[in-house]
């Protein structure tokens, strides 16, 4: 009955490979996110989808391609993995995405995070 789940939990791979991380939420939320947490524990947003539509794409290399087959799933595919991609990737979801006051985030959108996927590129 995990609210936000990610697979795999650990991923060790070679440079140049292509890999995918899957995320599922059973909270009925409309909005999902991908974050990257580096070795210094900085959390940076990568992407956000609302009802399967991409709404945030921060300055992430185009080797990273999110895909949302339905609003309960947001997968992250990474092509040509590089050493610098090693990090913990977190998926999150929130109830919805308002547009009050001109902000794409609306007000009061609590995010629920998955347990993370630890990616190590060798």
């Amino acid at each position: 009955d995990t609210a936000v789940s990610q697979t795999p939990k650990y991923l060790v791979t070679q440079m140049g490979n292509d890999k995918s991380i899957k995320c599922e939420q059973n909270l009925g939320h409309d909005t999902m996110y991908w974050y990257k947490q580096d070795s210094k524990k900085f959390l940076k947003i990568m992407f956000s989808y609302n009802n399967k539509e991409l709404i945030i794409n921060e300055t992430v290399p185009n080797r990273f391609s999110p895909k949302s087959p339905d609003k309960a799933h947001l997968n992250l595919h990474i092509n040509s993995l590089e050493l610098g991609d090693s990090a913990v990737y977190f998926c999150a979801s929130s109830q919805s995405l308002g547009t009050s006051g001109g902000s794409v985030y609306g007000r009061g959108e609590t995010q629920y995070f998955g347990p993370g996927t630890r990616l190590l590129v060798l």
Partner: protein, 114 residues
């Protein structure tokens, strides 16, 4: 470059009150300030959220001054299990555009000692 800043680390003892402040000079007008807690090998977990003045729930209080350029998370009577990393999350206004940038602070490592 607008950013969100927090102290890197803090130490406390069981039973004490801990206050962690986050500075966010360029916070977007209409967005909330949210604080998260993260234990090792887990995802961040929601603690508290507010827009202005003071908010209190069963685990923490959040103080936000009128200008909203900072916020202070207050943990009353901490215990060893409160040892974790604490993050503030705000939307930083992106001047000239409608949408801001969702930005976490760099996190404060709180260590509670017996």
């Amino acid at each position: 470059l607008a950013k969100t800043t927090q102290p890197i680390s803090m130490d406390s003892y069981e039973g004490q009150e801990v206050n962690i402040t986050c500075s966010h000079n360029n916070i977007a007008t209409n967005d909330y300030i949210t604080w998260y807690q993260q234990f090792p090998s887990q995802g961040p977990r929601f603690i508290i959220q507010g827009y202005k003045t003071k908010v209190t729930n069963e685990v923490a209080s959040l103080f936000i001054p009128a200008d909203r350029k900072s916020s202070t998370l207050s943990l009353p009577r901490v215990s060893l299990s409160d040892t974790a990393v604490y993050y503030c999350l705000v939307v930083i206004a992106a001047g000239g555009t409608s949408y801001g940038k969702l930005t976490f602070g760099q996190g404060t490592i709180l260590t509670v000692h017996p």
